[in-house]
Symmetry: C2
Subunit: 240 residues, 2 copies
DNA sequence: GGCAGCAAAACTGTTGAACAATCTGGCTGC
DNA sequence: GCAGCCAGATTGTTCAACAGTTTTGCTGCC
C-alpha cells in the first residue's frame, strides 16, 4: 500500500508528500540523523524523484532537515545552540502575547483555554504520548493572541523543530504532566488579567523547559557521536 | 548571456535561481501580479523546468509568490490585511528588541548604528532608490539585538514581503528621507539607554509607516483591478 | 598486518522529453 | 448577444539518462 493514500488531494502532490514526511519526522518515526535518500523515498511514497525533491526542499526551508551539496538530505539533529535560539524566539513571542492579552478578542482567549483543557484531558487519560503535543498547542494558541498569521506560521515551524528534540527524549512519560498544570496556571492568570504574574510564571516555565530540553539534547549528542551519522547501512533501525 | 551568470556556485542551482528571482521581485523588476511561467523563465535563466519549479516553491514558502493549482505562479499582490499582519509582526519583534536592547552585546549595537549611518549616507547622496532598503536594514539590525537567528530569518522574509508594497509605490522619491531621521532618533535613544522613549518613538514610527503603506496598497489595488480573489471585503465594483 | 592508493558502486544534482489534466480564448451556431 | 464547444497553451508530474561527487571496497605494496 502506498503510504501516500489519497484521501484528499485538493493540493498538489509535493505538499502532500511534505506533510507526510513532516509528520513522520516530528513524530519521531524518522529520528534525527536519518538520511532521506530520494530514490528510496520516492519509491516508497509512490511519487517521482523530482516531486520528492520539492518536498525535501520545503522541509529544508522549515529547518527540519539539513542538505549538504552532493551529500543529500538528513533529518536535522538539534544542537544546543539551536535549542537556545528556539527558546529565545519562544520567549519573545509568548511573552509578547501575554503583554498583548488584555487587548485580545474573547474567542481567541476561549480557544486558548480549550487547548489547556484538551491537554488536561490527555493527562487524565494518561495518554502521555499526546500530552507534549497538546501542551505545545496551548502555547501555539497563546501566540495566536498576537493576531498575526505570519507570527503563527513562524511559531508553528519553530515548535516543529523543537519536537525534533522531544522525539529523542527516551522518556516521554509521566514527567510531562507537571507542565500541563503550569499551562493551566498561566492560562488562568491571563484570563484573570494578572498580566505581570502571568509573565513571571511563563518566564520561569520557559527557563526550566529550556534547561530540560537542553539536557536532553546534550545527553543525546553524547551517545550518538555528533557528526557521524549512520556508520554503516541502517543496521539497527529497530527499538533500542 | 545567461542571466544566471555563474560567479559563485557554491550552492545548488535551485537556490541560485531562487536568489535571482527574489531579487527581481523585491526590486520591483517583476511587479506584483506578474505571472511567472515556468517554461519561459527556465529558458531565460538557462535551467531546467524542474529546477525552476523548486525555486518557485521556495519563493512560495517565503510568501513572495502565490500558487494556484493548475493556474501557476504569480508575484504576490499584498492585500491590506497582509500589510496589517506584517506590521503586527514588526511591532512584536522590533518593540521586543528595544526591550532587550539593554542586554544586547555591544557589537550588535555598533552594527545597528552603522546601518543608520549607511542610510544617512544614501540620503546625502540623494540615492533615493537605495534609501528605503537601507532603512529596512537598520530595522533588521534592530531585531538582531534579540540574538535569535530564527527570528532574524523570519524578519528578513517578512521585510521582503513588505518590499512588494514598496516597489509598487510610484514615488519612491525624497519623501522617504524623513524616515531615516527618525531611524537615527530611535537608534540614539536606544544607545542612550532611554528605552521607554525609544519604544514610544518606534511605536509612532510603525503606526505612521503602516498607514502610509496601507494607503499605497489601497491606491494600487484600486487602479490595477485586483485578481478575482476576495470579492468579500471590498464591495468591489470592478471597473469594466 | 596495516596502509596508500585506485577502481567500482552508490548517490546526488540536473536535464530534457513526454503525457495527462486543466485552464483559456476564440469560434460557431443559434 | 449568448451558450456551448473546440483547440491551443500551460501546468503538474513522471521517467530515463548522464555528469559529478562521495563512499566503499579492493588490491598491492611496504
Amino acid at each position: 500500500m502506498s503510504t501516500l493514500n489519497g484521501a484528499a488531494a485538493a493540493a498538489g502532490r509535493p505538499v502532500l508528500v511534505t506533510d507526510v514526511l513532516r509528520e513522520r519526522i516530528v513524530e519521531g518515526e524518522l529520528p534525527p540523523g536519518t538520511p532521506l535518500r530520494d530514490v528510496a523515498l520516492s519509491a516508497e511514497l509512490g511519487v517521482s524523484r523530482n516531486t520528492l525533491r520539492e518536498a525535501l526542499r520545503t522541509l529544508h526551508d522549515e529547518g527540519l532537515v539539513v542538505q549538504q551539496l552532493h551529500k543529500g538530505t538528513a533529518v536535522k539533529t538539534l544542537a544546543a545552540e539551536d535549542v537556545t535560539d528556539i527558546y529565545l524566539a519562544r520567549r519573545t513571542l509568548e511573552l509578547s502575547a501575554v503583554d498583548a492579552s488584555p487587548l485580545a478578542p474573547e474567542p481567541l482567549l476561549d480557544a486558548m483555554e480549550a487547548k489547556v483543557a484538551a491537554a488536561e484531558l490527555a493527562v487524565d487519560a494518561e495518554a502521555w504520548d499526546k500530552v507534549g503535543t497538546a501542551s505545545l498547542r496551548f502555547h501555539q494558541s497563546l501566540v495566536a493572541l498576537l493576531g498575526s498569521a505570519r507570527l503563527d506560521g513562524f511559531f508553528r515551524v519553530t515548535i516543529a523543530q523543537l519536537r525534533l528534540a522531544f522525539a529523542v527524549m527516551a522518556d516521554q512519560g509521566a514527567f510531562q504532566a507537571p507542565w500541563v498544570a503550569r499551562d493551566r496556571e498561566i492560562c488562568d492568570l491571563i484570563r484573570g488579567g494578572r498580566r505581570m504574574d502571568a509573565t513571571a510564571a511563563l518566564r520561569l516555565y520557559l527557563d526550566e523547559s529550556e534547561r530540560m530540553v537542553l539536557d536532553a539534547v546534550r545527553a543525546g549528542s553524547r551517545t550518538t557521536s555528533t557528526t557521524r551519522t549512520t556508520p554503516t547501512t541502517t543496521a539497527a533501525k529497530g527499538k533500542r
